[in-house]
Amino acid sequence: MLEVTGVTKYFSGKTAVSNIDLKVADGEFLSILGPSGCGKTTLLRLIAGLEHPNSGKLHLNGHDITHLSAHKRNVHTVFQRYALFPHMTVFDNIAFGLRCKKMDEIEIKKKVCDGLELANLKGQGHRAISTLSGGEQQRVALIRALVNTPSLLLLDEPLGALDLKLRLQLQHELVAIQKRVKTTFVFVTHDQQEALNMSDRVAVMNNSVIEQLGTPNEIYEFPKTYFVASFVGGINRLDGKLRVDDAGRCICDVESLGSFFMEAGESRTNGVQGGLCIRPEKLTIFSRRPSSDNVLEGVIKAQSYLGTHTQFEICLKNGKILNVFQQNTQKLAKKAYHVADKIFLAWQTNQSHFFADSSLS
């Protein structure tokens, strides 16, 4: 089990990672998701021992590893561009870590062969690194780290350099391998799909802090901050003011659009400025005003038919544009709506979120 407590790291005055607390359970697949420059790679390097924190502690399986240098930790990394040694063969690359441990050469051979088999590269140990395709390099890098049976495997955007199709395929392979070897994976990425698809839990980082840590569902459906809501998946936002009515229900007053009910969020103070946020697929389009608590009136500005769903841009009365996805559940030969049609949008109260402005930045 990895425990990160209060870790802070700054480079020449700039904070890269600020007071991070994180626990990763054994066998877990944890993703660290965030935009570039949020500090996720630094956090990874701190765990790997390639950097050392300015303050805070790191514990691995109960041992303090804060000041242990990289080559003495039982933590291995798959690097962003793989960092395969160009002057060695596939076999030598994979055997590198084992040889550093001065393992018996026969055992090394066995382990490397097992690893190659795991990565669908059976019998290709003699190949030179430069002859490998991107996907193969990625798998070699993974195996090179895995054969050392690390307590923790770190992956620094290992799929970033690959094209989309290969990426999807390798996502599955990676998860499959992880399930087989049962090693703890910490996976850094800026791609939300990847994070949601593969992880047991996701930590969303922004501005050197973890904004939210939870299962993919939690992250998507119950974002704690506006950043998380907007970074993971699309979001529509209406600026307004919070009001709590006599019945204790939360209401957001949006200027010139009306008032809307919403889930009781964290802030329940009257008069707080903030944003009412609804995901595009949670909105439903009606041609006539529905009998719902939350209804908006608008005009279709643009629509694109994408097969599984249709994407709409709806212009509201105050000029604000909302994105709406409608599942194409019915079999229609022509479009259900047209540009410039006047329509109504409705959603269920528990589908919306309110984030106070103070928590925005």
Partner: protein, 290 residues
């Protein structure tokens, strides 16, 4: 010609290139090879008589001792200089790339500055430093290192110092360029996989710096093999190297055919070195060049 102006234009360049190559590279070398098979005249000069004498002289048991010794001495000196340059130049290059930080560019420029003063003058400065009553001995004496004189000037030590001094920047720069290209992630990956600092150097940094090491070695070893000014000024002419021997054969003794034979042998030795170096880089470089 109008049909293919491209080839016509290249032909113009090529003809000038061949003019240079044939007159200033090929012809002189072939001429030297040719006269190495001729006889010398009484007052120098060449007599057009074909002979192998100049080469058999090298195998002459009476003479070969001295000539071969000179060749051996030159190779040994060039080798020592190269090794010394590597031993000092490599850590220096590593320091410049990984440790120097902001001073990196400035320090690199400082490496080049010695090249801008005259080579002979730089070498002469060592005469002043290494002289019996020179700076080095006064420093050593002030440290209480023996009242008896330590000889530096006109000894093989002085020649080695001069060679090392003169060729170190070449080696350091060549290694610097190579080390600078090294992907830091590879070192991190090695550390991550459990390699300590020494292992990282020998398994990753060193093998990946081999192109620079070879280039640097060529830049040091080959000129050092033919060097004759440094041994002349700092060695005092008491132990001769191939370069001095060549200068002597051509400008004092005027036995051009024999000098030519010697230089043919020198060229062959250099060719052999280049071949070996190329083989080493090829072996290592196959997977470096995608």
């Amino acid at each position: 010609m109008t049909r293919n102006p491209q080839t016509f234009r290249v032909a113009t360049f090529a003809s000038l290139a061949w003019l240079w190559a044939s007159f200033l590279v090929i012809a002189p070398l072939f001429y030297v090879i040719a006269i190495s098979f001729l006889k010398r005249g009484t007052y120098g000069g060449i007599e057009p008589v074909l002979t192998l004498e100049n080469y058999t002289r090298l195998a002459d048991p009476y003479l070969s001792g001295t000539i071969l010794m000179t060749l051996g001495r030159s190779v040994w000196l060039a080798f020592l200089s190269t090794v010394l340059c590597i031993l000092v130049g490599f850590p220096l290059a590593l320091f410049l790339v990984f440790k120097a930080g902001r001073a990196r560019n400035a320090l690199f420029f400082l490496l080049i500055i010695p090249f801008w003063t005259n080579f002979l003058i730089r070498t002469y400065a060592w005469v002043v430093i290494l002289s019996d009553n020179g700076w080095l001995n006064s420093v050593l004496e002030s440290f209480g290192l023996g009242p008896e004189f330590l000889h530096w000037l006109f000894t093989p030590k002085a020649v080695l110092i001069g060679m090392f001094y003169n060729y170190l920047p070449y080696m350091a720069m060549s290694l610097y360029v190579s080390v600078e290209k090294l992907d830091v992630h590879l070192l991190e990956a090695a550390a991550d996989l459990g390699a300590g600092p020494l292992k990282r150097f020998f398994k990753v940094t060193l093998p990946l710096s081999i192109p620079g090491l070879i280039a640097g070695s060529i830049m040091v070893f080959i000129p050092a093999l033919g060097e004759f000014v440094i041994p002349d000024i700092l060695g005092g002419g008491t132990s001769l190297f191939v370069g001095n021997l060549l200068a002597q054969e051509f400008l004092t003794v005027r036995n051009w055919p024999f000098g030519a034979a010697l230089s043919v042998i020198l060229i062959l030795m250099i060719g052999l070195c280049l071949y070996l170096f190329e083989k080493v880089t090829k072996g290592k470089g196959e997977d470096l060049i995608a």
